[in-house]
Symmetry: C5
């Protein structure tokens, strides 16, 4: 999984039918100081994450294993909102 | 998913049978200012996206979960046309 | 999918049984001017592509969805020979 | 698989139900001298790895093939604790 | 698939049960002159490859499609030993 921060939202009216009602969040990856990197992904939100929140995202076929994304053409999902990311050893 | 812009089309006469009738679009990834990056992918179009449109693409096995791409040797699909991509926090 | 050019062949006598008879082609990725990049992959040929030809390759589990590669330990397949790749917008 | 070292832990209260009870470890990849790289992933721990340990991680759908991660939205798993990584040829 | 050379071995006593008996080889990727790159992966050996040998590796779910790796948390497998990699066109 990767650690990221929600930095925006994507709206799309014309889309594959099974995607109706899903929320597409823009998630920027963060480094080990939790600073935003330039790299970002568009992820379906399965846990109600809001703008600015630190989140955990799963990619690939695993992104379909939430009740929100089951059997849909989705390759990235926000599956947890992070309370704390503690780097204990550098 | 990744955000990109349709910048061209690929034609192929000789191909795996199951790919007949599919449209292969060239999609360049965009950065957080929606500027084109050099990196591109070839994606099957499942939503009727035209040249220049901003689109959302799913990769991997998830790319096969549209009615257009089901069970076909396709690893990237355009599954939505983007109305707006709003970056709310940088 | 990615766009590439066939630049060579790999021969392997000792291999997993299910791979007997497959042709392993070396495919270099190309940029948006169709110039060769240094990055390459080894792909099973499902369409009879020859040296120098511009091809379309599918990766991941989708690479197994051709009659040539079904159920085999193959993660990249040449599934189309490209007639033309037209970049309409830069 | 990739070789990495456990350098921290992620806590998340609000998450997909199936993730309850899983331990999310921060794993930094290592180079061929076993030095930490900047790149890291969040992996579910299937073998009881502690901070500082050198571990082996599987990614993608294979990350779900442990009893700990079966059918869960998890794309990286720690599936072995490394006793020794011997580079015999450079 | 990627082309690489076996440059070492990883030993792990504490691991997921299904991994008992598998051999974990360190495989460095090679460039188009067959020179070692710094990037490496840990691959399960399905064909009896020895140190220094040039090998072909499959990644992702395809890595589980050998009799050695079936249904196991393995994402990279050595599925062929390369006799010759001939670059015919540059």
């Amino acid at each position: 999984m990767f650690l990221g921060r929600v930095v925006g939202t994507v709206w799309a009216t014309k889309k594959e039918d099974s995607l109706q009602g899903l929320k597409f969040q823009i998630v920027k990856k963060v480094d080990d100081k939790l600073r935003l990197k330039s790299d970002f992904a568009i992820a379906v939100d399965a846990v109600g994450a809001g703008a600015g929140e630190l989140v955990l995202c799963a990619s690939g076929s695993s992104a379909r294993l939430t009740s929100t994304t089951h059997n849909k053409p989705v390759d990235t999902v926000i599956m947890a909102i992070v309370d704390q990311a503690e780097f204990t050893e550098e």
